[in-house]
């Protein structure tokens, strides 16, 4: 790689490049990452090619620490399993890895998020009269419940950053202790299985983090957006007092890795 570690200038990168770089920066060398299709795949591959060569990636369909030479487009893809340390099934990934406590970092998305980082990927409307069904949980609820840190990838829209979710698919820092139906801190429900929870949320406008009470606050805004822009696209009362300024753009080196090594076919980076 010949490109430098200087930051690219506005106009020299696309929004998706910035998201991939921001998500990759959440990966720490040595992380065991549980990732899904799309942006998380770009992020983990970028991180492995840059600052986190010892990060291992688990895809829920069963591949563990694969070394894909072609970007997968599905977590069940043969490409995920290429050069994997081992290859099993979902019992291995969800119980042998996640429930066993090996997973340090998860990447997830959702249709709706609340200020405690709970997600809805199931439906909007009521149970008696659902308006639209999404995918359902898949591994979303499991990963958010057990990964030590989880990075949430969202589209920034007021209706998606909700005061109250229409369906809580995945547990943030405050949850209901079913079947008792009391709203309590996650730790109270998970007890000795309290490994962590959501730590960051990356959108097309900003990056958010969670304070000591598990409440989301604005951390940085992407170039071209203001804290006010972000607040106008959130339905709950958002703390913007800790905003550190602008999100760092991708570096020239990161762009080179993304386009020449990670996604040369233009699958997620057209």
């Amino acid at each position: 790689m010949t490109a430098s570690n200087e930051y690219a200038k506005v106009g020299e990168f696309k929004p998706m490049d910035l998201l991939a770089a921001a998500a990759a920066r959440e990966v720490i060398d040595g992380d065991v990452v549980f990732a899904g299709t799309g942006l998380p795949m770009l992020a983990i591959a970028l991180a492995q090619n840059e600052h986190a060569p010892n990060a291992a990636c688990i895809y829920e369909a069963g591949s563990i620490d694969g070394r894909p030479i072609d970007l997968p487009t599905s977590v069940g893809d043969a490409r995920c399993a290429y050069q994997a340390a081992k290859c099993g099934g979902l019992f291995e990934t969800f119980y042998g890895q996640l429930h066993a406590g090996y997973v340090t970092l998860g990447f997830l998305g959702g249709a709706e998020i609340d200020k405690y980082g709970s997600l809805n990927t199931t439906y909007v409307g009521t149970h008696a009269s659902p308006k639209q069904r999404f995918t359902g949980s898949g591994g979303n609820a499991d990963i958010l419940s057990f990964a030590q840190r989880t990075v949430l990838i969202m589209v920034q829209e007021k209706r998606r950053f909700s005061e109250r979710l229409e369906y809580v698919t995945s547990p943030g820092w405050m949850v209901r202790n079913w079947p008792k139906n009391e709203y309590v801190p996650k730790k109270q429900v998970y007890g000795k299985y309290s490994y962590g929870g959501p730590t960051a949320c990356i959108t097309d406008m900003a990056i958010f983090r969670f304070d000591e009470n598990g409440i989301m606050y604005l951390d940085t805004v992407h170039p071209g957006f203001s804290a006010e822009d972000v607040r106008n696209n959130v339905d709950f009362d958002l703390d913007i007092s800790k905003c550190k300024g602008e999100t760092r753009p991708p570096t020239y080196k990161q762009l080179e890795i993304l386009y020449k090594v990670v996604d040369p076919e233009g699958i997620f980076l057209p």
């Binding site: 299709t37 829920e60 369909a61 069963g62 591949s63 030479i69 072609d70 487009t73 599905s74 069940g76 893809d77 043969a78 490409r79 399993a81 290859c87 099993g88 099934g89 979902l90 019992f91 969800f94 119980y95 996640l98 429930h99 199931t122 149970h127 659902p130 639209q132 069904r133 999404f134 995918t135 359902g136 949980s137 898949g138 591994g139 979303n140 609820a141 499991d142 419940s145 057990f146 369906y167 809580v168 698919t169 995945s170 547990p171 949850v175 209901r176 202790n177 079913w178 079947p179 139906n181 996650k186 429900v189 998970y190 000795k192 299985y193 076919e265 233009g266 699958i267 997620f268 057209p270």
Partner: protein, 325 residues
């Protein structure tokens, strides 16, 4: 020496009764017994109960075609080729299909319990979510947890306190034992030994959890070949009840080292079947309008199939154009 009980696709599917509970091999858009699902629609099966760790094209077809009354699982879609399962979405909203949601971890726990013949499996995954909200228990709300249907547990879950090591409260998820496991596997030995060539997904659990198993396969190979590497096999012949030979039986889902997923087919299916009218047109063209699976393959054509054919070096196709470059 074991033997296999080989049936035609039509004979095998004819064994499935209206109202039966089915589970499938594979994962989202990989190794699904698609040819069997097409045949289920051709034979007009109704009121099926699907237990799915997660759904995909095969079950979207069954739901869209009106064969399904009960669906329980954790997820439905085509991954990035069409994120939401549009047919299940439409039929959940209309009330035609009764849906009960699980997490992946919950569904895996239930399949594992069924596989090893224990009535429940403990888990701490996905607690504190609306998956456990009694008001959202689709099967209970429909009055189906009355103990009359042996494939539906009387409770969706139970919270219990660990009596052994004080690990606190966790969930007991009930086992599931579907009537039929419909399994796609690329290779079956002449004594019934089953091989898959990549991630095993939940296939081994589905084999053991189901009362009866039909395996649909690309080819029957000498068992002696599969027994050279026993660790790579996922089932022994006595776990298999019936075998159907059917090339490209998983299309448009993929089968590692045989063929890639047909992304264009899946994308187009997802876009065109958002309405019932759209689904009916798809079904007329690809399911009811062809007389059998061979005619389906002829309709796909040599060029399409050869483009999808997997490399024997990597297990996936090098000919498919996947991105914009």
């Amino acid at each position: 020496m074991g033997t296999i009980n080989q049936l035609s696709l039509q004979e095998a599917v004819a064994l499935i009764q209206d109202g039966d509970c089915l589970a499938f091999s594979g994962f989202t858009i990989w190794r699904r017994p698609t040819a069997m699902c097409y045949e289920i629609l051709r034979q007009g099966k109704k009121n099926l109960h699907l237990f799915e760790v997660q759904g995909g094209f095969h079950s979207e077809v069954l739901v869209g075609g009106g064969a399904v009354r009960l669906w329980e699982g954790s997820w439905m879609g085509q991954e990035i080729l069409g994120k939401t399962g549009v047919n299940l979405s439409r039929k959940q909203v209309s009330g035609e299909v009764i849906v009960d949601d699980l997490s992946h971890g919950h569904a895996v726990a239930r399949a594992m319990a069924g596989a090893v013949n224990v009535p429940f499996f403990p888990t701490a995954l996905a607690m504190g979510t609306d998956i456990l909200n009694p008001e959202y228990d689709g099967f209970a709300k429909a009055g189906l947890r009355d103990g009359k249907n042996p494939k539906i547990p009387k409770e969706k879950y139970v919270v219990y306190k660990d009596p052994f090591y004080d690990m606190g409260e966790m969930l007991l998820m009930p086992s599931i034992k579907p009537n039929w496991g419909l399994i796609y596997a690329p290779m079956v030995g002449n004594e019934g030994t089953v091989r898959v060539l990549a991630q095993s997904y939940n296939d081994q659990d589905i084999f053991k959890a189901c009362d009866k198993v039909i395996v649909i396969t690309e080819e029957i190979v000498p068992d002696e070949y599969l027994r050279r590497d026993p660790a790579a096999n996922i089932a022994t012949g006595y776990e298999v009840d019936y075998v159907v030979v059917c090339p490209w039986a998983a299309h448009p889902t993929g089968s590692q080292f045989y063929y890639d997923t047909d992304a264009d087919f899946l994308r187009s299916f997802n876009a065109s079947t958002k309405t019932q009218d759209g689904f009916d047109k798809f079904a007329e063209e690809w399911i009811y309008g062809v007389k059998d699976h061979w005619e389906y393959l002829e309709k796909l054509g040599v060029k399409r199939l050869e483009t999808l054919r997997a490399s024997q070096a990597t297990g996936y196709s090098s000919r498919v154009k996947r991105g914009t470059r």
